[in-house]
C-alpha cells in the first residue's frame, strides 16, 4: 500500500492579503509530496485550527508578510491546545514584525509564542520541507497503526473532500487547464 501523505495546513494570517507567495507555497509543498490544505489569504487563527482538526493535519504553516504577524499570532499555540491539537507542529514565516529587525530577535519572539520554527522571507523552501519531514517524523513517528487506520477511514468516507477555503481561485496556477505545452511544475528553484 502506498504511504499516506502527511497533511499540512497553510495560509496567510490576519488581514494580510499577500497572495503570490501563498500560491507558490501550495505548489511547492504539493510537489514535495505533502497533502496541502491551502486556506489562502486573510485566515483567522480559528480557521487554521478548524481546518487542521478537520483534515487531521500534522502541521500548520502560517505566513505573514505585512508586519502585523506579532499581533495576529498571539495565543495561537494556546488555541491549538484548547482545541485538542496538543502536538501539532507550528511553523511561521515571512516579514513578521513592523520594521527591519534581526532574525534572531524575531525568532525568539515567536518561539516564545509556541511556534516550533520561525523563518525569514528569503528562506530556502527545500530546507523547510526537509525540516518539516524531520519534525513530523520526530513528533509523530512513522505513522502509527492507529493513525493510519484513522486516515484511511476518513479517506474512504470522503473520497472527494474538498479543501476548506479552496474556492476555485486557489488552485488556478497548477496549469491543469492550460494549453498543451505547459508543463506541470517539477522541481522548484525558489531560493
Amino acid at each position: 500500500m502506498e504511504k499516506e501523505k502527511d497533511t499540512i495546513v497553510i495560509g496567510v494570517i490576519g488581514s494580510d492579503c499577500h497572495s503570490v507567495g501563498n500560491k507558490i507555497l501550495e505548489l511547492f509543498f504539493t510537489s514535495e509530496g505533502f497533502k496541502v490544505v491551502n486556506l489562502g489569504v486573510m485566515v483567522s487563527q480559528q480557521e487554521f485550527v478548524d481546518a487542521a482538526i478537520e483534515t487531521n493535519a500534522k502541521a500548520i504553516l502560517v505566513s505573514s508578510l505585512y508586519g502585523h504577524g506579532e499581533i495576529d499570532c498571539q495565543g495561537f499555540r494556546d488555541l491549538c491546545i484548547e482545541k485538542g491539537l496538543d502536538s501539532i507542529i507550528l511553523y511561521v514565516g515571512g516579514n513578521l514584525v513592523v520594521g527591519k529587525t534581526p532574525v534572531s530577535v524575531v525568532e525568539e519572539k515567536f518561539k516564545k509564542m509556541g511556534f516550533d520554527r520561525v523563518f525569514p522571507p528569503d528562506i530556502d523552501l527545500k530546507q523547510v520541507a526537509e525540516l518539516l519531514r524531520q519534525d513530523i517524523k520526530e513528533r509523530f513517528g512513522s505513522s502509527s497503526k492507529e493513525q493510519e487506520a484513522k486516515d484511511q477511514s476518513e479517506q474512504d468516507s470522503q473520497p472527494d473532500q474538498k479543501n476548506p477555503g479552496d474556492e476555485g481561485s486557489q488552485n488556478n496556477l497548477t496549469g491543469q487547464d492550460n494549453q498543451n505545452n505547459m508543463k506541470e511544475p517539477e522541481g522548484f528553484k525558489v531560493k
Binding site: D16, C17, S19, Y66, H68, V98, G99, P121
Partner: protein, 482 residues
C-alpha cells in the same frame, strides 16, 4: 443592481447615515465644515493643483509611502520625509486592519504601540483617530497629503480624511478589491467606491478639488500593461461620472524599459480618448509610475539599484509622479531613514536623466500600438457585456474572466491568465484565460515567449513564471534557468 449613474444626493445622504454609524468617530463628520477647512488650505498644499503644475512644467514629483500607528510618531515620520527626504508629495499609508474595516483590532494595535513604544501597525489608523486626529497631521505638514491604502470599502475612511483636509485619495472599486480582498463581490466594491467618488464630487461642486488616483500596479506581480491600463480607465470613468475631475492614473514598473515607457504613453493617450468618448471633457489627467512593486533584493546596495532604475524609467516615461520604494523593501516596513534614502536615490537618478531627450524609436511605437490594440479588445468587450454601461460591464467581465488579474487573492477573480517574461524581459501573456484578446495579438505574445524558450533551451513552463517572480530579488530581471 449597480449602474454607472451619478448617485442622487438624497440617496447619498441616506447611505451616509449608515456609513457614519459604523464607528464612533464617524458620528460628527461634517462635509460642510470640511469644505470650509479646505478653502483655507494654501495652494502649494493642494494635491490636484500641484499635480496639474507638474504636468505643465513636465516635472516628475516624488512621493514615498509611510504610516505608523501613533499620531505624533506619524507626524515626525512625515516631517522627516519632507526635510531629509525632500519629498514633493506626502502620503498617509493606512494600516491593514483599517483597510478591512476592523477598527477594534486597529484600536488594539494603537494600545499595544503605546505600550511597546514602537508601531505595531503597518500604517496609520485614520478612522480610529477621527477628523480631529487626522487634522493634526494635516496641519503639521507643508506638502500636499494623500491617503494611500487598499480598502475595498473606504467610505468612512474617505468621509473622515477628506473632512480632515487630505487633498487626494487613492484607490478604486477594482484596484482596491481584487488585489486586496478575498470575498468582496465586485458589485459591492464598485458601489462603495461610487460613494467615495460622489463624496469627492460633492467637494468639487463646492469648489474644492480632490485628486483621485486609481491604483495601477494591482498585484504588482507580472501584470501585463493592458490589464493595469483597462482597470485604471474603468475606475477613471466611474470617478468622473460621480463628479471627480482631477484623475491620476497609475502603472507599476514591469522592468523592460521600452514596455514601461510605452505603457505610460498609451495609458495617457487611451484614457484621454475613452474619457472624451464617454462625454467627459472637463477633467485633468495625470499619470503616476510606481517603482518596482514585486520582491526586492535583501542586500540594500542592490535594492538601491532597483530604486534608481525605477526612478530613471519613471522620468523617461514622463509620468508626473513617481512612488518611491526604500532599501528595506525586502524586509517590510522601512525606518524613516531608509525611506528618506529611497527618496534621495530617486532624486539623484531623476536629476541625471531629467533634461535628456526622450526618444520614441520604432520599438516603443510597436509596443505602444500593441498595448492600444489589447486595451481596445478588453474595454470594448466590457462595454458590450454591460450593454454600454461600464459598471454593469465590469461586474459581468470579472464573472466571465474577461477581466482577470494575475495572482490576485479575490475569489471573484478567475486567476486563469498566466503571464511571463519574454527573452528581453517584456511581460507577455502565455495563457489568455478568457481575456478577449485577438488571435493576432496572442500569436505575437506566443512568438515572443517561444523566442525565450529557444534561447533558454527549455520548454515554456510554469517554472519560468516562478523564476520570473523571484528574479529581481535574486539579482536579475528575467528568471533564467540555473
Amino acid at each position: 443592481m449597480i449602474k454607472d449613474e451619478k448617485i442622487e444626493l438624497k440617496e447619498f445622504y441616506e447611505i451616509r447615515k449608515d456609513v457614519l454609524q459604523t464607528w464612533p468617530t464617524g458620528r460628527n463628520v461634517s462635509i460642510e465644515e470640511g469644505i470650509k477647512f479646505h478653502r483655507t488650505i494654501p495652494e502649494e498644499r493642494r494635491f490636484a493643483l500641484v499635480m496639474s503644475k507638474a504636468r505643465k512644467k513636465r516635472l516628475t514629483l516624488l512621493q514615498p509611502r509611510a504610516g505608523v500607528a501613533l499620531i505624533d510618531d506619524h507626524i515626525k515620520l512625515l516631517r522627516y520625509l519632507e526635510t531629509e527626504g525632500q519629498a514633493d508629495l506626502l502620503p498617509t499609508t493606512i494600516d491593514a486592519y483599517t483597510r478591512q474595516n476592523r477598527y477594534e483590532e486597529a484600536e488594539k494595535g494603537i494600545e499595544r504601540s503605546k505600550q511597546t513604544g514602537s508601531s505595531m501597525l503597518n500604517g496609520f489608523p485614520a478612522v480610529n483617530y477621527g477628523v480631529e486626529g487626522c487634522r493634526r497631521v494635516v496641519e503639521s505638514l507643508s506638502k500636499p497629503l494623500q491617503i494611500r491604502h487598499g480598502t475595498p470599502d473606504a467610505r468612512l475612511l474617505a468621509e473622515i480624511t477628506l473632512a480632515a483636509g487630505f487633498t487626494s485619495f487613492e484607490g478604486g472599486g477594482i484596484s482596491y478589491n481584487i488585489p486586496y480582498a478575498k470575498r468582496v463581490p465586485v458589485e459591492k466594491s464598485l458601489g462603495d467606491w461610487q460613494y467615495v467618488d460622489r463624496l469627492v464630487g460633492l467637494y468639487e461642486e463646492n469648489g474644492v478639488k480632490i485628486n483621485r488616483e486609481p491604483f495601477g500596479p494591482l498585484t504588482g506581480t507580472l501584470v501585463p500593461p493592458c490589464i493595469s491600463i483597462v482597470s485604471g480607465i474603468i475606475e477613471g470613468l466611474l470617478a468622473l461620472r460621480q463628479g471627480a475631475k482631477s484623475i491620476t492614473l497609475g502603472y507599476g514598473q514591469g522592468g523592460n524599459i521600452i514596455q514601461d515607457v510605452a505603457a505610460i504613453a498609451s495609458l495617457r493617450e487611451l484614457a484621454e480618448d475613452y474619457f472624451h468618448r464617454a462625454g467627459f471633457d472637463d477633467f485633468e489627467l495625470t499619470t503616476v509610475f510606481h517603482q518596482w512593486m514585486g520582491g526586492f533584493p535583501e542586500d540594500e546596495a542592490k535594492a538601491f539599484s532597483v530604486i534608481a532604475f525605477g526612478a530613471i524609467v519613471a522620468r523617461l516615461s514622463g509620468a508626473e509622479k513617481v512612488i518611491v520604494k526604500s532599501p528595506h523593501e525586502a524586509m517590510g516596513i522601512p525606518t524613516k531613514e531608509a525611506n528618506a534614502q529611497g527618496l534621495r536615490t530617486t532624486r539623484q537618478a531623476i536629476n541625471m536623466v531629467e533634461d535628456q531627450v526622450v526618444l520614441h524609436p520604432e520599438d516603443i511605437r510597436i509596443e505602444l500600438e500593441l498595448i492600444k490594440k489589447e486595451v481596445h479588445c478588453l474595454i470594448d468587450k466590457v462595454y458590450e457585456l454591460g450593454k454600454g454601461d461600464i459598471a454593469i460591464g465590469t461586474v459581468a467581465a470579472f464573472e466571465a474572466g474577461v477581466l482577470d488579474i494575475p495572482f490576485a487573492p479575490s475569489i471573484y477573480n478567475h486567476g486563469k491568465i498566466i503571464p511571463m517574461r519574454d527573452n528581453e524581459g517584456f511581460i507577455r501573456i502565455f495563457n489568455q484565460g478568457n481575456l478577449p484578446l485577438s488571435d493576432e495579438i496572442m500569436a505575437y505574445h506566443r512568438e515572443r515567449l517561444n523566442e525565450r524558450a529557444r534561447a533558454e533551451g527549455r520548454p515554456i513552463s510554469f517554472e519560468m513564471v516562478t523564476d520570473d517572480i523571484y528574479a529581481i530579488s535574486k539579482g536579475k530581471l528575467v528568471g533564467r534557468p540555473r
